[in-house]
């Protein structure tokens, strides 16, 4: 079993960038319904820049891969998703200690805690946490049950997608969508949608690792 090393994490980042680019217009349409119609374009710009930064200066150290993604997203995304995704990768980089599935799960948990602290949101507020929270829990539970990393990430991706879909009837309580009040109900949250892509990308790119 090959490790969750710098190459593996780079593959995760590349797959996330690919999915964001592919779903760019769909993400922007979700954001047009309840936000300012820039989420797909912003995240696509940020992840394209992150992939370019990793190509320009490939990192040997797994934590350095996540740190590069963090600083690139912070610089290039603009809007709230820059500091939120940036904090996820920054805290994950700081917590990553090892190159197996458990180390990855601990890093993801630290990233999740960072997003909670930064955004001051709770699950059910119709934010990215509604996908990231269930995914983080599912990853930990599956690994604790002895499942291999690929399978655990598959479970995490399913949990993220279910959490994303469950944001549709919710009324937004954070961010720009919260200005809409009741009118924000009936639309899937764009942050939860892009976060689901992040977890799905991990399931695809890291299957067979750890």
């Amino acid at each position: 079993m090959s490790a969750v090393d710098a190459a593996a994490l780079t593959a995760w980042v590349r797959e996330f960038a690919r999915l964001v680019h592919e779903q760019r217009d769909a993400l922007t349409q979700l954001d047009a319904a309840i936000g300012d119609a820039d989420h797909g374009a912003n995240l696509d710009r940020g992840m394209t820049a992150a992939v370019a930064a990793l190509e320009a200066q490939p990192a040997d150290d797994p934590a350095a891969v996540l740190k590069t993604v963090a600083t690139t997203l912070i610089k290039t995304v603009g809007g709230a998703s820059g500091p939120l995704y940036g904090t996820f990768f920054l805290r994950a980089a700081g917590a990553l200690d090892g190159d197996d599935g458990r180390a990855l799960a601990a890093a993801v948990r630290a990233g999740y805690d960072g997003v909670v602290a930064r955004g001051k949101a709770e699950r059910g507020d119709k934010t990215m946490l509604d996908a990231l929270g269930p995914a983080t829990d599912a990853l930990d539970e599956a690994l604790a049950a002895g499942k291999p990393l690929g399978e655990a990430l598959g479970a995490a991706a399913q949990a993220a997608a279910a959490g994303r879909d469950a944001t549709e009837p919710l009324v937004a309580r954070k961010g720009r969508a919260s200005y809409l009040g009741e009118r924000s109900a009936g639309h899937v949250d764009p942050g939860a949608a892009s976060t689901t892509l992040l977890v799905e990308a991990a399931a695809t790119a890291l299957a067979g690792r750890g």
């Binding site: 600083t71 912070i74 610089k75 290039t76 603009g78 809007g79 709230a80 820059g82 500091p83 939120l84 940036g86 904090t87 920054l90 930064r118 955004g119 961010g175 720009r176």
Partner: protein, 136 residues
């Protein structure tokens, strides 16, 4: 060294104008005010790395007070704290004051040599004159 001030805004024009307004209150006096505003392409947005740089530039060792506009400016300013060295971070206060009124109050107080907490308190009181005037 007087306390350093940092202005964080989505808009470079908004930040520069706020600084110009504040400097108008400080004729002939030195006061460090740095700006982190706009995205990398000059559009609307905030960038935590730019904020961290602006804080470092404003830090003379006696503290920094950061004024910001709204929304992601606040998230980016908090994220910037994570990017700073521990000793610098301990000297920084993120002010919940309104940007324009807070900046003017902070600038006048800082230029007079007050310490960081006094400057931050004065920023927070920035709305008081307007509130008093309009409630009369």
């Amino acid at each position: 060294m007087p306390v350093g001030l940092v202005v964080v805004s989505h808009s470079r024009a908004l930040a520069d104008a706020a600084v110009e307004l504040a400097r108008g209150m400080l004729p002939g006096r030195e006061q460090t005010i740095t700006v982190a505003a706009g995205d990398v392409d000059g559009g609307l947005g905030t960038d935590a790395t730019a904020i961290a740089d602006a804080v470092t530039a404003a830090d003379g060792g006696d503290g920094v007070v950061v004024l910001m506009d709204l929304g992601s400016a606040v998230l980016s300013a908090e994220t910037a704290l994570e990017l700073l060295d521990d000793d610098v971070r301990e000297r920084v206060v993120l002010s919940p004051a309104p940007l324009v009124e807070g900046l003017v109050g902070a600038a006048v107080t800082a230029a007079a040599g007050a310490d960081r907490d006094r400057v931050a308190a004065e920023a927070l009181r920035g709305l008081a004159p307007k509130q008093a005037h309009l409630s009369g």
